[in-house]
């Protein structure tokens, strides 16, 4: 009762002009914040790309959990890194392996989506068993082989290959699989067989990207017979000691380490020996940009970008691209006398 509240100091008294404008100021502040966040949010939504944390891919993502392969060698994290002489073989590079996460979340597999992250999200649609590979064409013993039979025939080996994409990025991948040559020998190519054609599964239910006509489905790739018989050429069924995930071309895919990645057909259902050069998908779609051979070649630029350098995923700086992706010693002989600018 005794004291009245102390009068505030003059300095704290709001000037009347400001006092009268406080509503307007508040309103403007709210409009400012609302507009800024709406515009910012809209732009991020429109241009934020596919890098959202939600679709980082990975083994826990919808791409599915990869099962360890029964006949697989011990997983690489259990085995000490290969050292010395063994690291020098072309079959196992001693370069740092690309993270598993990156290998299963950054994929070109248009049948499962056009962006890099979509294949991992849609991979669950692929039914991986039962799976059979029809081996036909110029073969003395054509046969439709169940995948599990195939896995019984050939022991799995781990091969650590460089993988160079035509888009100028690269990875180092510890594949699990077997060389193609013994399979072809077992099927006995006829004397007329000169090429091998690999066909990917055609089923828009499992591969929803095939509903769009961005490419002519099914995806077809091919090799000359001597390329297919080369010991580096393999069929992969796993990587990092685990079975392949859909986004990497499960359950069985081609790996040709000295060629651009698109040569490695994924989710293969047919292997055909032919007399004529196969009409491969990319070389049909854009013949001036993608050739049948598609050997990694830093000297032949893609019409729209240089192939002289590449970015190894996980690294910031580009590195020079090597002729035949570093496998020149092993494979350059296959192309003796050929003009690789002409046959790119």
């Amino acid at each position: 009762m005794s004291k009245l509240p102390k009068e505030p100091p003059a300095s704290e008294i709001t000037p009347p002009a400001l006092y009268l404008r406080r509503r307007e100021l508040l309103k403007n502040a709210a409009l400012f914040a609302g507009t800024a966040s709406a515009l910012g949010g809209g732009l991020v939504w429109l241009t934020g790309g596919e890098a959202g944390v939600a679709d980082a891919g990975g083994p826990g993502a919808p791409g599915g959990e990869a099962a360890p392969l029964a006949s697989a060698p011990p997983p690489p994290d259990a085995a000490p890194p290969l050292l010395g002489t063994s690291a020098r073989t072309p079959f196992v590079t001693d370069e740092a392996r690309t993270d598993y996460e990156a290998i299963v979340s950054y994929n070109n597999f248009y049948e499962l989506g056009l962006s890099k992250s979509e294949p991992a999200r849609n991979a669950g649609r692929l039914r991986l068993r039962p799976w059979a590979v029809a081996c036909e064409g110029e073969l003395k013993k054509p046969e439709v082989i169940d995948l599990d039979t195939l896995l019984r025939w050939f022991p799995l080996e781990e091969r650590v290959y460089r993988m160079r994409c035509v888009e100028a990025w690269s990875m180092v991948i510890p594949w699990l699989g077997f060389p193609l040559a013994p399979l072809l020998r077992r099927l006995e190519p006829t004397s007329r067989a000169r090429y091998v054609q690999f066909t990917t599964l055609l089923d828009p239910e499992q591969l929803p990207g095939q509903r769009s006509d961005v490419l002519d489905w099914p995806y077809v790739e091919g090799l000359r017979l001597d390329e297919a018989m080369h010991p580096l050429t393999m069929l992969a069924v796993g990587l990092y000691g685990k079975s392949l995930l859909g986004q990497n071309g499960a359950p069985i895919r081609l790996v040709v380490p000295w060629k651009y990645g698109f040569k490695g057909g994924k989710s293969i259902v047919r292997i055909q020996l032919t007399e004529r050069q196969p009409r491969t998908t990319w070389s049909q779609a854009t013949p001036d940009e993608y050739g049948f051979y598609a050997n990694v070649n830093p000297a032949v630029a893609h019409p729209r970008w240089s192939q002289a350098t590449e970015r190894r995923l996980g690294e910031l700086r580009r590195r020079p691209t090597l002729p035949f992706n570093g496998y020149a010693e092993e494979v350059a002989g296959l192309y003796a006398g050929m003009d690789l600018r002409e046959s790119f």
Binding site: N28, G34, L39, L46, A56, S105, A301, R304, S306
Partner: protein
């Protein structure tokens, strides 16, 4: 009530440009920079995916194109709707577009190419894909430099307007750059091409209407004289 009455303002214009919607341009600049902040935070968190450099390049380039098209939409939008607010943010949008185009180019030159001048020059001279983007950036530079009211006065409205039509050329080159980048699926660049075509169409239609109206008035005037 709010702002002190300006005796000079003509009755038609509600209030002079600076006073109406004082929050709008700052909000556009702030909002326009939010994607950069988000990009920076994602990069630091390692959340840009396996190929972070390519992802950053894509986002910065797309931001430049989106903002450039948005700035070009201001006049057509006003012509169609009568709203004047788009014109108040046109400059902010254009400058943001230039800012992102610079960030895009610098990311390419410094991070992607590691400041290898020879590689950059070879890219620009030998690859139409890079050349289109680079010329677009070069065209935007004088526009950014003459974006102030003082430069407008110095150049004169007519010359300034003619110069700033280059923004359309830059946007077309930006879309060409986008087209040449994609491997096969051209849906996205198509959308921007269609948007640009629409903006052109509105301007051309409105110019034609104005000419017709003018020519209708002109004979009447000449008869009177």
């Amino acid at each position: 009530m709010g702002s002190p009455a300006r005796p000079m303002s003509p009755p038609g214009a509600l209030s002079p440009a600076g006073r109406k919607l004082p929050w709008l341009a700052p909000a556009v600049v702030t909002g326009g920079l939010i994607p950069l902040a988000v990009l920076g935070l994602r990069a630091r968190a390692g959340a840009l995916g396996a190929n972070a450099v390519a992802e950053a390049l894509n986002q910065l380039g797309l931001l430049a194109l989106v903002l450039l098209v948005a700035s070009l939409a201001a006049t057509p939008l006003k012509l169609v709707s009568g709203w004047t607010f788009p014109l108040r943010i046109r400059k902010a949008l254009g400058l943001l577009a230039f800012f992102y185009a610079c960030a895009h180019f610098l990311t390419y030159a410094v991070v992607d190419q590691g400041l290898d001048a020879r590689a950059v020059i070879e890219d620009i001279t030998e690859r139409p894909f890079i050349l289109a983007g680079f010329v677009a950036l070069l065209l935007l530079a004088p526009l950014a430099a003459t974006s102030t009211a003082r430069m407008l006065k110095r150049l004169g409205a007519a010359r300034w307007k003619r110069l700033h039509r280059l923004a359309y050329v830059a946007a077309v080159l930006g879309v060409v750059h986008f087209f040449l980048r994609v491997k096969k699926d051209t849906t996205e660049p198509m959308i921007y091409a269609a948007l640009l075509a629409l903006l052109f169409a509105v301007r051309i239609a409105s110019a034609a209407l104005r000419r017709r109206a003018a020519s209708r008035r002109a004979p009447a005037g000449s008869r009177a004289a």
